[in-house]
């Protein structure tokens, strides 16, 4: 365990931070409903990606290391904030870094992105001893592991997003992934038959701009054949699983969930998973796909009883149930999508909640407290849009950048934490929120903690994220 250099910061210090990318942090610039107060717990975090409470109020906060984009790569630390206020690092994960954390039965469980494979490791809360409990989840590409969370049955639930952005590994994903992980590809959760539709593009890693042809569930540069069968695998991409806490008894509940970064159980034991839309750019572009929250029905079944996992649409079907090549989803920029699967499994939709495209829904938590209010609402952080990089539409520029409280029974939501104007604080010159990546309720039920990734600026050609600009906010009911 390593203590971190910290200093206490009175409000005037928060208004003149040494980081020009985020020179001030000011709770007065954050808007919450009447009856709630906002304050700052931590400032100066680097690329924070997730957090989780122990029952005693100890908070574990993850610094992601190599995140979005992959540089700068800063220490991928698992931080522990004691109720006394002491902050220390209990461990570091290798390249890729930690993405989600949950505390259960004396262990801290951490989902980490890794290289070709994501994994779940657990740290002993008292000795910091580290052990890998799940490994080999297909990655090496665009999306993240989701969870872990623990269900009322004591089982561990976790997920893994897609390797490709939009169904085929293409240069529009970051080039470093094509160079570092040339064999990376999606894996289906059940046997699929391919149409033989491929995507022709160029290889930016080659000494000449060689043309290449790539199919779904294939590494970059490998084409698919009409009628080809790709075998499904337990360890697929776009999957949602459960297992015993030691990783044994792993069972695939669902697949086809493109980016299941946020997972949460309701008080009555239902599992909800958020999911993000296809991108409107590149050689398989899909427009107007809504962000969404799914109910994972198979989480209600007895452990070990799922014969066939439910399918939620990736790589062909959008959140609204329409195919990616439907008129509604034709792109203004990039090449339209073609059908990849000859036959679609039964679609497990519709979602319980639709959100605006490119809100970038992230981690979530249910309110279980009358003291805080809004009990039963699902609080969901929204990292915020990557437009104009991944969408040419002006209306997509300021989607997200807030925390919403979702009524999953009615499919509605209210904006709960936001800036005075839509968008990140850095675009408005205020001390408000940038990109909320996680929100969790303190075990005392009085406060909602909101983890703010920090400044990540986007233009048409690039994304730049700045270290030491992450903030942990706290919203408390008066």
């Amino acid at each position: 365990m390593t203590a971190l250099p910290t200093v206490f910061a009175p409000p005037e210090t928060l208004r003149r931070l040494p980081t020009p990318a985020r020179p001030r942090v000011d709770p007065a610039d954050v808007v919450v409903p009447d009856g709630y107060d906002v304050d700052v717990v931590l400032a100066g975090l680097s690329m924070p990606t997730g957090m989780g409470f122990a029952d005693d109020g100890t908070l574990y906060v993850l610094e992601g290391g190599s995140t979005w984009p992959t540089r700068p790569y800063l220490p991928a630390r698992i931080l522990r904030l004691d109720p006394s206020g002491d902050l220390a690092a209990i461990g570091q994960e290798p390249l890729g870094g930690p993405r989600g954390v949950a505390v259960h039965g004396g262990y801290v469980y951490v989902a980490a992105k890794g290289g070709y494979h994501s994994r779940i490791v657990r740290y002993d809360r008292y000795t910091d001893e580290r052990a890998v409990v799940v490994d080999g989840l297909p990655d090496g590409g665009w999306h993240e592991p989701g969870g872990p969370v623990f269900g009322p049955d004591g089982l561990m639930y976790f997920a893994q997003g897609s390797v490709s952005q939009n169904g085929v590994v293409l240069p529009q994903g970051y080039l470093v992934d094509l160079a570092r992980h040339p064999e990376a590809h999606d894996v289906p959760g059940q046997d699929v038959v391919l149409t033989g539709n491929n995507v022709d593009t160029y290889d930016p890693t080659a000494p000449y701009p060689y043309l290449v042809r790539t199919g779904p569930f294939k590494p970059f540069g490998v084409g698919a054949q009409q009628g080809e069968v790709v075998k499904g695998a337990l360890k697929c991409s776009t999957g949602v699983w459960r297992s015993h806490p030691d990783g044994s008894g792993m069972e695939l509940l669902a697949w086809g969930v493109r980016n299941p970064y946020g997972m949460a159980f309701s008080e009555d034991g239902d599992l909800y998973v958020c999911d993000n839309d296809f991108e409107e750019y590149g050689d398989r572009a899909i427009a107007n796909d809504p962000d969404r929250i799914w109910l994972i029905r198979n989480a209600r079944t007895p452990h070990g009883s799922v014969a066939t996992p439910d399918w939620y649409g990736f790589p062909d079907i959008c959140g609204d149930g329409l195919p990616g090549w439907d008129d509604k989803h034709l792109p203004q920029r990039g090449r339209p999508a073609q059908r990849l699967l000859a036959e679609h499994p039964v679609w497990a939709g519709p979602p319980v909640f639709f959100e605006a495209p490119h809100s970038a829904m992230a981690k979530m938590d249910f309110c279980r407290s009358d003291a805080f209010g809004r009990r039963g609402r699902l609080f969901a952080s929204e990292w915020g849009s990557l437009a104009p990089m991944n969408s040419p539409r002006p209306q997509d520029l300021d989607h997200g950048f807030r925390v919403i409280a979702v009524d999953v029974a009615h499919g509605t939501a209210e904006s709960f934490v936001r800036n005075r104007h839509p968008g990140p604080a850095s675009a408005q010159g205020t001390g408000g929120i940038e990109r909320p990546v996680d929100c969790k309720f303190h075990p005392d039920g009085r406060s909602l903690y909101v983890l703010d990734f920090g400044v990540s600026q986007v233009d048409q050609s690039k994304q730049l994220s700045y270290g030491h600009t992450g903030v942990l906010w706290r919203i408390t009911r008066r």
Binding site: L4, P5, T6, V7, F8, A9, P10, T13, L14, L17, P18, T19, P20, A21, R22, D39, V40, V41, L42, A43, G44, L45, S46, R71, P72, Y73, L74, G85, L87, V455, Q457, K462, L464, S465, Y466, G467, H468, T469
Partner: protein, 180 residues
Amino acid sequence: MPLLVELGERTWTGQLERVEPWLATTVVSQGAFRRMLEDTAYEVGEPHIRKWLGDMLDAAREHERLIDELYVAFRLDPARRPALGGASAALLAKAREIGAHVEGLAGGLRGGAWRKLRELTLANLDSTTAFGIVEQLGLALGIPLVVDLVVPVVGRKSQHQLVLRECLLEMAPKAILYGA
């Protein structure tokens, strides 16, 4: 009361002080590249390549001067940087030229300009990486001005790298097979 993580004055100042030696490395690396470019640009007989190297030299001088602004962006004193074109850069440039000469002789080469072009390709790669590392430090420390200054430099020098490599490959058969 909120906690600042690694943003206290003492920690922050320490981080900035750790940047300074890398900026000095960048000065030396870019200076060595520029000196080698000066030596090479006028030796190349092929007129198109000579023109490309001449254009590159103008940019290389501008990139070298820009390092002063990087010191200021990091709130460091530019007076503490190594002198542009100073002894360190000259020494590094000379060492690389000697290395190119020795390697060339071992390879049976007689084309002096081509040998220098080969070393120039490596020197630009080294100095491009030096600027790229400065960009990472600017991102890590939350200083957009550093990034704004460096991203165009890395982009331009990456283009130069393509040009240098193409020139090197184009001239290679003549240099190796004909000794010209």
